[in-house]
């Protein structure tokens, strides 16, 4: 699934009509939901501006906010761990599991843990991990990775899900109805919550002033994960801070409305430290892992803005490229426009070198982003960087060097046009070219290309100029 290049995977994906239909259905649903939910706000653009301002301020003063957060978590009786990279974060969680002799861990949805492949590490040390978010569970049963940051199993059909559930639970004759399938998952997962020695969650926002971790879910599994097992570990990327509850009242509706079109998700879980005296539930121990894993490098670069992301997935839903190829084609934890920007930044330009090119620069992502991250601009900046580092084909840089020269000299430009007319002659029929050599072959493979006009506008201008002076 993740072999070959982006282009190769994309070629396969666009031929998968079932995938394209599933993506179209889901993304249209999300997009309509977002437009309605944002549209009913009295001042949606104002709220977006406030959200953007909050996120920018957070990034500007991140050290302070993180210090406040850590102090508050500890004051509430929690433990704070700092992880420089994914390995360290996995090691920390692994140690906590070991100390408590954990055999089974239940997990709520967490893209950060996907990023560091935590499940593999825990399983290697003998801890079984069960995903409890419905979509994540489906993906886990299928042995895949999420194809969308909000809807991990968006590429799966209901028939796929019935098959997976049958294998997992032995239940035959499941109806193709979502409530029934949800009930199956519920039955299978409930018992695991009780048995688990460790609950692992992600963090949608961490409110610094009180040291509170906020989880946004729709199935209530987040609540079980954070309250039933004796130990709860939450893992966050270091950018996920909301300084105050006031800030949260801006960011939370932006997230839920942009992600699923909900005014509020079914559950919003707020966890402040472990169980206190008198609490009827909650873990005995609470750990917060604050992970860098390449983020502070981004913070110090011209791509800082990308860390303002609140992982709503809106840019994926509106992206026409994502809509054609789906998340797996990106072969990265984070797909779509935001993934195309941050994956090369997190993993190194070489490992994801195609992603910045996987965009027509249509600007739909910028338009949809609740915190107005200028993703198209950053994609172009990443391209510029590749050019500067000599990562693009030599023929291409040669061509653009000539392009630069031609555009500067009208005489050369006109000459090139005349040469072009000669060259195109054997290829042209009825003013169009149906088959051309590379690089234009990519175009003519699917589309006719117009031939250069016999006389350009510039060549016609002299005659046209006259009438206005007569």
């Amino acid at each position: 699934m993740t072999t070959g290049t982006f282009t190769e995977r994309a070629t396969t994906a666009v031929q998968d009509t079932q995938l394209r239909d599933a993506l179209a259905r889901a993304t249209v649903h999300f997009v309509d939901g977002r437009l309605t939910a944002m549209g009913e706000l009295p001042d949606p653009d104002g709220l977006r501006d406030r959200g953007r301002a909050i996120r920018r301020e957070v990034l500007e003063n991140l050290d302070e906010h993180l210090a406040t957060l850590a102090d508050a978590v500890e004051a509430a009786g929690g433990h704070v761990h700092w992880a420089l990279d994914g390995d360290e974060a996995c090691r920390i969680v692994g140690q906590i599991a070991e100390q408590h002799g954990v055999e089974l861990a239940v997990k709520a949805k967490s893209m950060t843990s996907e990023e560091i492949e935590l499940n593999h590490v825990l399983e290697a040390q003998g801890v079984s991990v069960v995903e409890t978010d419905l979509g994540e569970w489906i993906i886990q049963l299928a042995g895949e990775r999420p194809s969308h940051i909000i809807a991990p199993a968006v590429h799966k059909t209901i028939e796929d899900v019935i098959e997976l559930f049958k294998t997992a639970t032995g239940e035959e004759g499941l109806p193709a109805e979502i409530p029934a399938l949800t009930a199956v998952a519920r039955r299978a997962l409930r018992q695991r919550f009780v048995e688990a020695g460790l609950g692992i969650s992600g963090v949608n926002f961490a409110v610094a002033e009180t040291g509170t971790v906020i989880l946004v879910t729709n199935e209530g599994n987040g609540r079980f994960v954070t309250s039933l097992p004796p130990v709860h570990v939450a893992i966050m990327g270091l950018e996920k801070v909301a300084p105050t509850w006031d800030d949260l009242t801006v960011l939370l509706p932006l997230l839920t409305r942009s992600a699923t079109g909900q005014r509020m998700s079914s559950y919003v879980t707020a966890v402040t430290g472990p169980r206190r005296a008198g609490d009827i539930d909650g873990p005995q121990e609470f750990h917060l892992v604050i992970m860098d894993n390449g983020r502070s490098d981004i913070l110090d670069s011209k791509y800082r803005e990308s860390l303002a992301c609140i992982r709503c997935g809106a840019c994926l839903n509106v992206c026409p490229v994502y809509g054609e190829v789906g998340g797996h084609t990106y072969a990265s934890t984070y797909p779509g426009p935001i993934g195309s920007v941050i994956t090369p930044l997190l993993e190194g330009a070489e490992s994801a070198s195609e992603l910045p090119w996987a965009s027509s620069l249509c600007g739909a992502c910028l338009d949809a982003c609740p915190v107005r991250i200028d993703l198209p601009r950053m994609l172009i900046e990443l391209r510029d960087e590749q050019v500067a580092r000599g990562m693009t084909p030599r023929s291409e840089s040669w061509a653009f060097r000539w392009f630069g020269r031609l555009t500067r000299h009208r005489f050369l430009y006109s000459l090139a046009v005349r040469v072009g007319r000669l060259l195109q002659r054997p290829l042209t029929r009825d003013d169009r070219i149906t088959s051309a050599p590379p690089p234009l072959s990519g175009w003519t493979q699917y589309r006719d290309f117009p031939a250069l006009a016999g006389r350009s506008f510039s060549e016609r201008w002299e005659e046209m100029e006259k009438p206005s002076h007569d």
């Binding site: 994309a10 965009s359 620069l361 910028l366 653009f400 500067r408 006719d448 506008f457």
Partner: protein, 243 residues
């Protein structure tokens, strides 16, 4: 009023009739049109592909050519207008003097439909076209420049036009310059979706404000053997449509 026409390389070399139509429309609204002869390409292909040095070369040349006057600069392309208006200043972030020049020129640039509506205040277009017409709202014009109403208003004001809005008119057609060649499969799939939306309107004519998108859409429609008529808005407004 005087206007310097920036015709764009695509129109100059591939669709000169769009340039002629643009001149005609502007003249019909009492504008004196000048065509600065030295103009070439705005540099967007190089810019979008990350070749910023080469894009800067094109941009400097553009500034030289269009600084000769301080007239409005009008162009029949949302995409090229966006390049000059938004990206030029950005390209020269580290060259304050050139940046100042770029900002000054950027303020003079107008895309044709928004120039007609917002600057000239055109209400009556005095054009006639018989057909069921749908409009593709190109990305850089509609989202980049925020010009969504002017082209539609102009089109609807044309006598004989039966206007029908397509589903997702602002969704990308998959052109994206070099993207169409580099990621041909994806680009074409996007084009297919666009064409499906166009066909669903049962329009006999497609109108757009960017030659690049029209190239993408009509190129694929022709290949399928089921083309419909396609024009740049300027051609409809100028009454320069061969049937």
């Amino acid at each position: 009023m005087k206007v310097s026409l920036f015709v764009t390389c695509l129109v100059d070399l591939f669709f000169p009739e769009v340039g002629e139509a643009t001149v005609k429309v502007l003249r019909e609204h009492g504008v004196e049109v000048d065509f600065p002869r030295g103009q070439t390409c705005c540099g967007q292909p190089a810019f979008n592909s990350g070749y910023w040095d080469d894009a800067r070369a094109a941009a400097r040349h553009f500034l030289d050519v269009f600084e000769a006057t301080d007239d409005y600069i009008v162009t029949p392309s949302g995409s090229c207008a966006l390049m000059v208006k938004q990206e030029y200043p950005h390209l020269f972030e580290n060259e304050p003097e050139t940046k100042a020049r770029a900002v000054a020129v950027a303020q003079r640039v107008h895309e044709l439909s928004s120039f007609l509506i917002d600057v000239l205040g055109v209400e009556e277009v005095g054009a006639r076209y018989e057909g069921r017409v749908t409009y593709h709202a190109s990305c850089h014009l509609s989202r980049g420049l925020g010009v969504t109403e002017p082209p539609r208003r102009l089109l609807q004001a044309v006598d004989g036009v039966e206007y029908v809005e397509m589903e997702d008119a602002g969704r990308c057609c998959g052109f994206g310059g070099t993207f169409a060649v580099k990621m041909a499969d994806v680009s074409n799939a996007m084009g297919e979706d666009k064409i499906a939306n166009i066909r669903a309107t049962e329009a006999d004519t497609l109108v757009g404000c960017d030659a690049g998108c029209l190239m993408q859409i009509t190129g694929a429609m022709r290949r399928s053997g089921r083309p419909i008529k396609a024009y740049h808005l300027a051609q409809i407004l100028a009454g320069e449509t061969e049937s």
